[in-house]
Amino acid sequence: MKYPCFPIFAAVVFATGLLPVVGQNARPKDDPAFLKKSALQIDQYVAAFYRRQKLEVPGVTDDATFLRRAFLVSVGRIPSSEEAIGFLEMDDATKREELVAYLLESPGHASHMSNWAFDLLRLTDRRVDTMANNEPYRNWVREAIENNMPWDKMVNRMLSSQGDGWDPSTAGVGYYTRDRGMPLDNLANTMRVFLGARMECAQCHDDPFGKTERHDFYQLAAFTHGQDEVRASLIQSFRADLAKKVENYSTPEFLLAQFLDDQVYGASLAGGGAGNIPLPMDYQYRDAKPGEVVGAKTPFGKPVRMSEKKEDGEGRKAFADWIINKTGEQFPTVIANRMWRQVMGKGIYEPVDEYLPPEKTHYPELITYISRLMVELDYDLRAFQHVLMLTRTFQFGTNPQESIIASADDFHGRKIQRLSSEQIWDSLITLAGGNPDGLPRRTLDDRIVIGGKPVLPNRRMGQLSKEVLALETEEEFRVYFDKLLAEMKQGGSAPSGDSMMSMGMTQVRTYNRDAKVRASELPSPAPREHFLYLFGQSDRMVVEGASRDPNVGQVLSLMNGFVQRQLVNNSQAHIYKTLDGASNDPEKIRRLYITILSRPPSDEEMQWMLAEVKAQGESGYRNIVSALVMSSEFLFLQ
């Protein structure tokens, strides 16, 4: 018996496979031959490790396991039935390579990588107890990922931008404004996220185990010191005056002022980094006095210093340049190892945010190689993942055992791991609605909303922010504010689509908590009653705060919750459409297996399921769907 054929997918795969026609002068990241050669080089380092250990190299996994693994790792969901059948039925020696190329170019990859970036950068939509949101920054990160902005450039933009948070060219300032008022925590996270250097302790005291002293931390903080909002004094004095006049904090006047403070000024960033900073008043060591001003100085790598005598204003640029270009192998190694974990399931060394120099890892040659590869590929994260997914190492068979090397991968086959919360969700919506990547992604929400209500329907944040930040004097501000307030009180309704176009506004598309769309399109983090929370999505308050731990709520949800409502008991679910045209029970069962588990059933399983259908008729199919989704095989990556 044959599977139904889905030629569309196959055609796409073939087309992608044929696409790259690359000349002699192609950059390495665009050259398929270079990517393949690099993959081979990685495999040789891994093989050398096996030889040294006198171990047999693990075998390569079967097509079905590879298919599911490749999808989950690169686009964060299981294949739709069409995609699965397309791949499994292809009879082509290079089909794995073609699949990888197809996946990495698909919009699903950007979605999956956005979840990664949101976890790493602690990207939440809102900030508690303020009217501020991180909307333009979220959108900026999403676009940077979508456009595959090279990592060094992305980091540089986040660390050294200044100006209007709503201007797309400077929206990277969200990296700092997300942590408004807490620049030192932000700095400690910067060192951890980009350099794998843990300095949180030194924020308050000398690290008793490490080399970092509190003095070092402040010297580093000098680079980013002096962050402020653009022309903040205008709004501050305005609000101070207002507080004297206004009794009630919920008047339109007060709300509008607070809104401008949080959403416009609060999203902006002035001050390029002073280069000097006073030591804190509780500074406790003998080498300096509290309040003494120290100049910027880097703690390792090529030394960069700035004078304590004057404010420079270029400190953040110097800092970003040091992180990216003057820390030797550290910057490329940290991101290369993060990407290795993203693709292979475990870092070459772990934890990935505690950098180890190559000689201290179990695989010095390999880690040195991938660090250089990252540079050679111009920090192109997609190309780098492409190399890893072309390796034989990526295709190793599954090994359920824990790594025999503490805090590192032992490369004894793929480690079994529960899917992330986002991977489970994205897979379920694929079953419920088919390939979700054709849906348009959410756009920047630049509407003006105060207290949950849209106000000023004829304006958008981008223009408003630009105008407000351009105001130079208190008088100008007052005039502008009064005009805005009058307009707000007047109300009015949102313009129609056509008149919106003529005003240069774009249609805003967002998805609320109930939408059956990719996790990357939902509110960040998803609300606490959401499936994503239950399965351990990070609350994005701390770096990579996600959990894959099981709990009883997850199992209840699989048995009685979202899965039942949207999938099993929903006759409109995409999964039941895959049964159209199947003429007999074995064929239907086979299709359900391929759709949910990306593989055909074994003979034994076929007998179980046929018995179920025989006993229960139509509801037998629902029972099969339910059982397959509840199975550990569905929840785990092999």
């Binding site: 807490m182 308050c204 239950l534 701390v542 770096v543 209840l556 399983e605």
Partner: protein, 435 residues
């Protein structure tokens, strides 16, 4: 019943087998002589009136000077005013008028000190007694209580976390059996705990049986602890679904008057749910209230947080007392650190992290009310007397429950761990706050 022996069979066997190994090297078992041999643990562990814990966690670092450790100096207090309470000599910040009416039930521990000044590490040590490590995940307090104390209700989960960050309520190396059952939104209770009406009992059973067949095959192929955990959870979940006490999670069973007593919002209703759960013999309930990270405009921030906290906390203590549960329920208010007495003018009156002195609260479960334990200096900057480490504080929670805070349990990787943290912390419970 010897309380530490309530740790399950596996633990005891492991305990015995490890004992011999321990004697070859370091003595890992300070409890060994007094408990395992013959003495009743009650002799070693006094306190012991509490059966439950309601752990209210103020995520982000609650400002101690603006709430429960107010000072005289205006330059420290900023916009915060000091008010009297119904307990002599106990004053608090003016954002907490209702709490002021119940301070006779509360012991204010003003002298906490943490070595961790960042949120992630600070919350981690508060919840586990250990510093964060890259190589192991430690069980959280609720998991320790579930494991050492055992469950009181045969079907309901022993540990429930309401509106909490998942990384704070994990069971670490204890495994999923001791992990918190998460409740995201208290209004919805434990989601999906009832069989859908569209599914017949027969079909439901068939689904489980098919899934079970699938899973057994899978587990045979991949004998992995995480995979196994899900198998066990299915059994647990089914028992739970069948429980007649599932209504413990249902806030709609409470009168409107009671619901209004606690106030609106996820934290307030979470406190009410916690009260229902301990009434139904859940051991440990954590409820989180986030947003205390008031670097920027601290006074507006604290005021906003206190609005969520004040009425709910006062209602919880009053309600527990009225229903007779206060005497065997320890109500803890904890946070990862305090905030600097200095006010950052540049950040619109913000306060930064301050781990070197902060305040947590204890009430119920045999704790004396209307008192303060320990103090800070005139500025609220340093601990003046009776310093309490995070581990001492957690040891006190174990003590209140009559659980051995220093019993050693081994991780699967054969490393020793205790409720109250590493040996180096030398944790000791504060016994004098118990009546």
């Amino acid at each position: 019943m010897k309380s530490f022996l309530k740790a399950d069979e596996f633990t005891r066997r492991q305990f015995m087998s490890n004992a011999a190994r321990a004697y070859l090297g370091v003595n890992l078992f300070p409890m060994f002589g007094s408990t395992l041999a013959s003495a009743a643990p009650e002799a070693a562990v006094k306190g012991g009136k509490a059966k439950h814990v309601i752990y209210l966690y103020m995520a982000g670092g609650m400002s101690h000077v603006d709430t429960f450790d107010p000072k005289e100096k205006k330059d420290i207090m900023g916009k915060t005013e000091v008010i009297k309470t119904n307990a002599d000599g106990v004053t608090i910040g003016h954002y907490l008028p209702k709490t002021a009416e119940v301070m006779d039930k509360v012991c204010v521990v003003n002298s906490l000190k943490s070595t961790q000044g960042a949120h992630e590490q600070g919350s981690y040590v508060m919840h586990t007694s250990y510093n964060m490590l890259g190589t192991i995940r430690h069980p959280s307090l609720g998991s320790w209580v579930a494991r050492l104390g055992g469950r009181l209700h045969p079907e309901l989960p022993p540990y429930v976390a309401i509106n909490a960050s998942p990384e704070n309520t994990g069971s670490g190396f204890f495994g999923s059996k001791f992990a918190a059952a998460p409740v995201g939104n208290p209004e919805q209770g434990l989601q999906d705990s009832k069989r859908s009406e569209a599914v017949s009992e027969d079909d439901f059973a068939r689904r489980l049986s098919l899934a079970d067949k699938m899973n057994r095959k899978f587990h045979d192929r991949y004998a992995n602890a995480d995979v196994k955990a899900y198998e066990e959870l299915y059994r647990e979940a089914i028992n739970l679904m069948k429980s007649k006490d599932l209504a413990a999670f249902d806030l709609s069973r409470e009168s409107q008057a009671t619901r209004d007593l606690y106030g609106k919002g996820a934290f307030a209703q979470g406190c009410l749910l916690a009260r229902r759960l301990v009434q139904h013999d859940v051991r440990f309930v954590e409820v989180q209230l986030g947003g205390w990270d008031t670097h920027y405009d601290n006074f507006a921030g604290v005021e906003g947080r206190c609005k969520e906290f004040d009425q709910a906390y006062a209602a919880l203590l009053t309600d527990l007392e009225k229903t007779g549960k206060l005497q065997d329920t320890l109500v803890v208010v904890a946070t990862e650190f305090g905030r600097t007495p200095e006010i950052q003018i540049a950040h619109a009156g913000g306060r930064d992290h301050h781990p070197s002195a902060f305040t947590c609260l204890l009430a119920g479960g045999g704790v004396k009310g209307g008192m303060k334990y320990g103090s800070t200096d005139a500025s609220g900057s340093k601990v003046k007397d009776l310093p309490v480490s995070v581990q001492d504080f957690n040891a006190t929670i174990a003590y209140a429950l009559g659980l051995p805070h220093d019993l050693v349990l081994m991780s699967p990787s054969k490393r020793p761990f205790k409720f109250s943290g590493p040996d180096a912390a030398k944790a000791a419970p504060i016994t004098s706050v118990f009546a």
